[in-house]
Point group: C2
Chain length 220, copies 2
DNA sequence: GTCATTAGATACTGACTCGTATCTTCAAGG
DNA sequence: CCTTGAAGATACGAGTCAGTATCTAATGAC
């Protein structure tokens, strides 16, 4: 996780240098990662509006041309920034022995790692438009990351015998749509009470309903 | 619903006039409403980023000073714009004879009337900060509007005997959190299939589960 | 050590936006 | 009809940002 890491002192041995930590001049992939992490810090603090090349360059202790050599415009930089956060921060949930615990853990992790991403997502449709890494691609990554982890959890639950029937797609994705809906409105990560409520008041009762077969009988 | 209503021709009898429709000079409440409607059109088309005083003034066929006389800054204008849309566009669902039909209707209406609002909501936390009409107030209005209509529907369902037990708050709010979650990611209003799925695959099965009492047995 | 590459600093243009000031012109009240 | 208040046009200064150009200097390959 990228922290501000403002080492403060700039000029170690260079004239007006505001280089990276340690005073050494960074290059290639190291520099690129540092920039994208700084960009992520910037977007979290100042939002999409405060996401300027000057601000990002300054925070990354480099300069604008270095950014422009890599990303031709603000859109690309923004997309690359979010893309990196999604790719570099995969959701992983170990086997905890029960569907309940694993789902709660997944919701907690998703919420913590990505709630700022959710807060920012609303603005993206307007900003990103025809970028190389498009809005649709970011959406796919964001949803896919949660869903594939969820799928893994459901597979384990099925192996344990906690689930025997097939759940509709929307039911499997339900916890995350609720997560997004609440995070969007509160601009905060999910608290423990909400996690418990989604798991115990909504998802598990619904799973049990599908298990007991007293379900979809009056549709269409 | 405010439409662009670009009557086109400007100078009816005034020198450089770009007045309102009809060429007459608007005043007071009429003018204010016209401005806020234009502002809403603007934010829908250009997003929060394109929400400038110049753009709004031009679209409302008036000029910046007129706006500044009413709202001291962009924040206030933005808050007033969203506030008006929420207040002027209440959600109403008539008695349709069944919980299922009424909920579907409510989701459809909420989605159509407010999906742009949801898209914009993510940006607001950063933009609005200590405004007279705050982020929290807008959130309360947005959630409250949906929830109170939902409560009315649930009351009718109870009178009909479709529901006899009490539902947890989160269950009653579930359709809207799912709505927000999906709209946030797709930037589109809910399609009919999604509405049907939320109603028939999630909400109603869950209600039935609570009705049959095979529910909350293993929490905390 | 030499050289090609690229980081990094700085400055600049053009566009845009905010917020205000000034002036003219209309609308309504009496 | 006359006065008052507000609408509307226009212009301006200050500030910000995108994107580019130009220069110096450090780094790594050889």
């Amino acid at each position: 996780m990228p922290t501000d890491s403002a080492t403060g002192q700039s000029g170690t041995n260079r004239p007006g240098g505001t280089n990276g930590p340690g005073g050494r001049r960074r290059r290639g992939a190291v520099l690129e990662a540092a920039i994208l992490d700084a960009a992520w810090d910037q977007i979290r603090e100042a939002g999409v509006a405060g996401f300027t090349f000057d601000a990002v360059a300054s925070r990354a202790r480099t300069s604008k041309p270095v950014l422009y050599r890599r990303w031709p415009s603000r859109k690309e930089l923004l997309a690359a920034t979010l893309h990196r956060q999604l790719v570099v921060n995969p959701l992983v949930v170990p086997d905890l022995g029960s569907l309940r615990d694993e789902l709660a853990r997944l919701l907690r992790e998703d919420s913590e790692k990505r709630f700022q991403f959710i807060g920012v997502f609303g603005s993206l449709g307007v900003v990103l438009d025809g970028s190389s890494v498009s809005f649709a691609e970011l959406r796919r990554l964001a949803i896919g990351g949660s869903q594939s982890t969820m799928d893994a959890i459901l597979v384990r639950a099925r192996e344990r015998g906690e689930i025997t029937v097939d759940l509709p797609e929307r039911v499997a994705g339900l916890p995350f749509e609720m997560l997004r809906g609440q995070v969007l409105m509160t601009q905060k990560p999910l608290d423990e009470e909400s996690i418990g409520s989604i798991v115990d008041e909504v998802f598990l009762p619904l799973v049990r309903a599908y298990e007991h077969g007293l379900d979809a009988a009056n549709e269409g």
